[in-house]
Amino acid sequence: MTQQNQSVNYETITKPEGRHARPSGAAHRRRLDQNVRRTFLVVTLLPILLISIVTISLIVRSWPILSAYPLKDLFLGTIWRPDKGLFGFYPYIVATFWVTAVGVLLATPPCILVSIYLSEYAHLLTRTIAKPILDLLAAIPPVVYGVWGLVAIVPFVDKVLAPFSERWLSSVSIFKVNQPTGFGILAAGIVLAVMIAPLIISVMYEIFSTVPNDLRHASLAVGATQWQTIRTVVLPQVAPGIIAALVLGASRALGETIAVLIVVGNVPKVPTSIFDAAYPLPALIANNYGDMMSIPLYDSALLSAALVLLIVILIFNILSMLVIQRMLRRKWAS
């Protein structure tokens, strides 16, 4: 930014001469530069503006219901009957939380291990192969993940995991199999875990690469094994970044709609076990957009669900981004 203040005053160098002289090259060029700078600045403010517009318009549209009912009735009410004027979000909020939590918990161990492996152990060849695989995994559209979930994961949960859990884990209430279809939180969690894995792995990999090699070498030189080095030297340095990457993954999982909608079962009940069917907020919005204008306050209720999602996701996103950016820009004393 300091360079622009030092710019030379071009007009004093070349003055237009004669009555019909065109504006001098330098002055013209400088004016063009100024105009372009101003135009581009306006365009650049667009992203910041867009976040505010999205938030404000959702607040405005969901205001009718937020002012008509006490927040306690909306967010802790368990009955959802828009035709009777009952808008209880509680089962949907709990379902959203469960699905996201299962997805992130399932994704955490493999993601950490894979990113450690790629950054600390893997040969260059493995890395060059792994990168496009992760890119492709990230490029697959949600609805295709949904198809995969429907065809492969739901039967897998039904035929393999549910009997296993009934045999060995039936005494633990969150593993209890209450409905034997395979559709439910666990199936959605597995699909979500695979969906958010590429993002989490690539963020973690980047964070691992910021740790300077000198630290590793120092540890290896005094006789530590590679895993000891990772556990005692590398991991403590990047711990906040790992948590931030997982929070970022959670924010992605929270808003995932179509893939979850296909495999989660869509039963509006407060779930008590990971084998239960559930009905998360994004699925609620997507399934009911059609008749949203037919019942009073219905559209406002659904848009306030979108607002709740947006706010939670914005908080998760901004917090994790701040931590990640900090870790990536960290200056190491050398």
């Binding site: 360079q3 060029r29 063009l32 530069d33 700078r37 135009t39 581009f40 365009v43 650049t44 667009l46 992203p47 867009l50 999205v54 318009s57 959702l58 549209r61 161990p109 493999p110 291990l113 894979v114 450690i116 790629l118 152990y121 792994a130 695989i133 890119d135 492709l136 995994l137 490029a139 697959i140 559209p141 949600p142 609805v143 295709v144 949904g146 198809v147 995969w148 065809v151 492969a152 894995a197 792995i201 094994t225 590679q226 970022l248 992605r252 808003g255 709609t257 179509i258 296909i262 994004p282 919005i285 997507a286 957009y289 848009l303 979108a306 947006l310 996701i313 996103n317 901004i318 950016q325």
Partner: protein
């Protein structure tokens, strides 16, 4: 003493070997799930895939298993994603240039990049809901235009960040050389940055297109669904992800089969775009100064 030392040595090496094993195992799981997804989509999709699927629009009784295809959805998706990408291009190129030439690594540059990353994280269902409020405010109906606008919003942060990441690696010497010769910053942007940005722009276009064509939740609200091929921007339009989604929910097995086939078509398009961007950017990278 020597005995103890030896035992300790063995245990930590055992741990090392074990950790390496489970890391490799995790990598195999992650890579394997990609293989599994592709395999399932191919196996389930090919039986119902036929020439009719990609060359015909749904005929009467299509949703009960009679003849026809999903040309409406394929073309609709191509229109939506191309329009969205084009619109997003118009805004993302200036933003990426401004970030590079005028903001650089300054504090404002950091804020703009952060806001782009935050926008990237907003899920498409929220964009869809926002699009819905926008349509009510503007009095628009579900249409190709509304779908294009929302997809452009979704693609904008992805494309801008993709360009930004590429152009950030441009050597600062190039910029300095041009400035030292008396160029204005705009001229640097136009004559130097643009050329260096070319691989970034192609990657960004294909990345944005891939994201746009696969997005279902936002299009559900804004573009609607129809069995016809859209003839104007104000008409609703079908899209591939929704074609998959609606047909999966059908009670007729034949229609479900076609849903799988539509998923296969969508996957092929997305993978071709993704691999194409990789290949193109590798080729174009040869012509930039590093």
């Amino acid at each position: 003493m020597g005995f103890l030392k030896k035992k300790r040595w063995q245990r930590r090496h055992l741990v090392e070997t074990f950790m390496k094993f489970i890391m490799r195992f995790s990598l195999v799981i992650v890579a394997g799930s990609l293989g599994l997804i592709l395999w399932i989509v191919v196996v389930r999709g090919t039986p119902a895939l036929s020439l009719d699927m990609v060359t015909k629009i749904p005929e009467g009784g299509y949703y009960m298993g009679k003849g026809g295809g999903i040309l409406n959805a394929i073309l609709g998706s191509l229109y939506l994603a191309s329009g969205g990408t084009l619109l997003a291009m118009i805004f993302s190129v200036p933003i990426a240039m401004y970030l590079k030439t005028y903001l650089g690594d300054s504090k404002w540059g950091y804020y703009v990049r952060l806001s782009l990353d935050v926008l990237w994280g907003i899920p498409s269902i929220v964009y869809g809901a926002f699009g819905f409020t926008l349509m009510i405010a503007l009095g628009l109906r579900a249409s190709l235009l509304a779908g294009i606008i929302i997809l452009a919003l979704i693609e904008l942060p992805i494309m801008t960040r993709a360009m930004d990441e590429v152009i950030r690696r441009m050597p600062i010497d190039l910029e300095h050389a041009a400035l030292a010769l008396g160029s204005t910053k705009f001229e640097v942007a136009l004559r130097v940055v643009t050329r260096q940005m070319l691989p970034g722009i192609t990657t960004a276009i294909l990345l944005g297109f891939g994201r746009g064509i696969g997005d279902a939740a936002s299009v559900l609200f804004t573009a609607g669904y129809t069995d016809r091929i859209p003839t104007s921007l104000m008409r609703p339009t079908a899209s591939l992800p929704l074609a998959v989604f609606f047909q999966l929910g059908s009670p007729y097995p034949e229609v479900q089969q076609r849903g799988y086939a539509a998923a296969l078509i969508l996957t092929i398009i997305v993978l071709a775009v993704s691999l194409g961007s990789r290949w193109l950017s590798a080729r174009l990278n040869k012509y930039t100064i590093k």
